[in-house]
Symmetry: C2
């Protein structure tokens, strides 16, 4: 008997998944390990920046009022009473018509309120004590970086849940965070099923294909910020699959299986979920590829039955696993970033289900243009390599034409979207 | 005495750097380690895909000609002579009006040339031998994925030098690459100089700042695909700096120092380069920030004297280090990806030098719009955290207005540009 499944819209499927929150955990790591991780706490300025009034240039610190009368014809003479390298402090008070040689970044000495760049002074030679001439007026504050002018102590610089990029690493260092509190990477179990699967290092055999989904998903988990735990590939054997699923569930934060989700005689996922007492959120989605995707929940753990078909598996991960994973990383923009783009080719054939086409974005005069990265047939892997976005072509009775406005999801973007699934349309410009 | 330096245009500076090729090396790693690395060889299809004619659906394999007379009113009866799970092969020849139950992905049995989806047949019950009814015509080839229809054996699927994404991992697995030849990650030494620098875990002190550049650069190296080796921070001491530089140069593929590149009394980079006998490609670039960037070459090694100023240091890395590093990863698009965008704010103040403004890209109705990610003052780190692109505002005597077309460089893009530096302009739409 063929089980009848009712497909639900993609938006509805994601909504159901997002009702479940996987536990988010913290851990403390060193700043050297922090690149690419997700902040578990707001990054707060622990002091003013600059922390003191400082010189942005090499030059001479002076009292601006002493240059009142200075001009090209009437240069004013300053006695150089000291020198401050960056990192040193000039301890004395600077008096009228005195100057202190100051290096980039050094603290402005007491009494001074302007810096004259090195190129703008004439150093006098053959004097008893070093001296310079200044030929123009300087105002109070000229060439001074004031304490706190960039950032005041206590400012939230980067929000919790943000992925740490090189700029954020610089901020962590500046504010003394040699240890960083980051989200623990959720552990996601991966089980591939299918008697047709060969290991990657096995030679091809009649009727068999190599297991590519497990490796692909492990890379997707890595890209999304999680940690993959591979439980190997299993034949279509109910007892073996059930045992492996139970074992994995006891060790991971979420579990992904690929294959066995269809309505064929060897598709054991539905029975296993029943046996486990998991709540099935849906087992059919109105999308191509990936319509037979199944998602279930057992206590605090999500169980994903992704299709054995590589493209469907890929899309299923990005739509349903990624946002849950990102939420567990404290991220507030857990979905793939959705944006508008111009459709680069015709899609004449209508499809009742929403299509997610693996595509590549081009930037043409500042405009995003999306075209398929390969032949879009769901059994096909070659288009996956070049894809950096997914087109969203709403289901319906008509096709789409080159030049139309469509929605796309960016696969390699670092920012993400809060809730990208409202109002997906394609329209004429 | 102030040394006179002649600034050269940014494009010219990059041209000079790109004339030097750092040695690119290969290594073999496992597929599990391959995500994010760069292919050292073209990825070639080692067999046809599909490798055999297969069924994309669960259903029954039949001979299409036997359905010639089939209709709703005159269903045709087929005897079910066997069953093929995915991964199994049906050894016998299928005869007229025989059908074989076939699972998704399984090999089409000899004699069959069409698959009827499970949902479209009526299974007859209570028969001596299993049988089905088919109620419509099927054509030869219906629901068959033909051998090689996705990809023919020998096809170059992904070019050498491409960064491995999850889709490429799937391809590697499909074609049996359990070991992958990838570019060795060049080792890049990092030395921070400046007596004003504190370690990240030291408390703030008068006149001092924490060393943020070294950590930032190490993350930039990581993002670009290299491997950082940190030689610590040094005070402005000529002998110590020279010794560390020599030591580092004997151990790394390229070397980056930060600080000490200006014309101040403690700026030892020029003297050290002279002492080493390095060829200085340039020591001043007509850009803000980062005008005092110095790049030199010694044999097969590049030596970068980046500014001690965080923003200048960041930009100097992305413009001058990244492309050389990416070339050493066999990558043909080593520069940051350049594209057009709409300027999101006014920049009224003209600057004789080209400005590179740390910015954030927004997608507004499929159009890229770039706005500064923070206050753009070169001493300021807080804007680095939110930057995902650099605006290019050509030097000149006029400012720029919101809504103009400008060029930007994408920091987080995975694709890159071949030679992004021709014809940088800003114009009214």
């Amino acid at each position: 008997m063929v089980e009848k499944r009712k497909p639900i819209p993609v938006e509805e499927a994601i909504s159901r998944v997002m009702k479940y929150k996987t536990i988010a955990d913290k851990e403390v790591i060193t700043i050297e390990e922090s690149f690419g991780r997700f902040l578990a706490e707001d990054l707060i300025a622990s002091h003013d920046v600059p922390a003191f009034n400082r010189s942005p240039y090499d030059g001479f610190a002076i009292r601006a009022e002493d240059t009142k009368e200075a001009s090209a014809n009437h240069p004013v003479r300053f006695e150089v009473v000291g020198e401050i390298g960056a990192g040193y402090v000039f301890e004395e008070e600077v008096m009228p018509f005195q100057a202190v040689r100051i290096m980039t970044g050094a603290q402005i000495p007491q009494g001074c309120d302007a810096v004259v760049m090195l190129e703008l002074v004439k150093e006098l030679e053959g004097q008893e004590r070093p001296a310079i001439l200044i030929k123009r007026l300087f105002k109070k504050g000229d060439n001074i970086s004031y304490q706190g002018e960039d950032t005041e102590k206590g400012t939230v610089l980067v929000k919790k849940g943000t992925q740490i990029n090189p700029g954020i690493v610089a901020l962590l260092a500046t504010f003394g965070y040699s240890k960083v509190s980051v989200a623990k990477r959720p552990v996601i179990g991966v089980i591939a099923t299918g008697t047709e699967l060969l290991n990657v290092d096995e030679p091809l055999a009649p009727g068999k294909i190599r297991n590519s989904n497990a490796y692909m998903i492990m890379a997707q988990i890595d890209r999304a910020g999680g940690q993959a735990k591979y439980y190997g590939k299993l034949n279509d054997d109910f007892e073996a699959c059930l045992t492996a699923t139970k074992q994995a569930l006891s060790e991971v934060d979420m579990l992904i299986t690929t294959g066995g989700v269809s309505v064929g005689d060897y598709d054991y996922v539905p029975v296993i979920l029943k046996e486990l007492g998991a709540e099935v959120l849906f087992n059919k989605v109105a999308m191509r590829p990936g319509s037979v995707t199944t998602v279930a929940n057992l206590g605090e753990k999500m169980i994903y039955g992704l299709s054995g078909n590589p493209s469907a598996c890929y899309v299923g991960f990005e739509l349903f696993v990624r946002p849950v994973l990102r939420q567990a990383l404290f991220n507030n923009f857990p979905h793939l970033r959705k944006t508008k783009a111009t459709l680069g080719v015709d899609f004449t054939k209508p499809n009742p289900f929403m299509r997610l086409v693996r595509s590549r974005v081009d930037y043409v005069d500042g405009q995003l243009v999306a075209s398929p990265s390969g032949v879009d047939k769901s059994g096909i892997v070659s288009s996956l390599g070049g894809a950096d976005c997914l087109m969203l072509l709403p289901g319906g009775t008509r096709g789409y034409e080159k030049g139309m406005d469509i929605d796309i999801l960016l696969l390699e973007d670092t920012q993400g979207s809060e809730w990208p699934w409202s109002n997906i349309v394609a329209s004429y410009k």
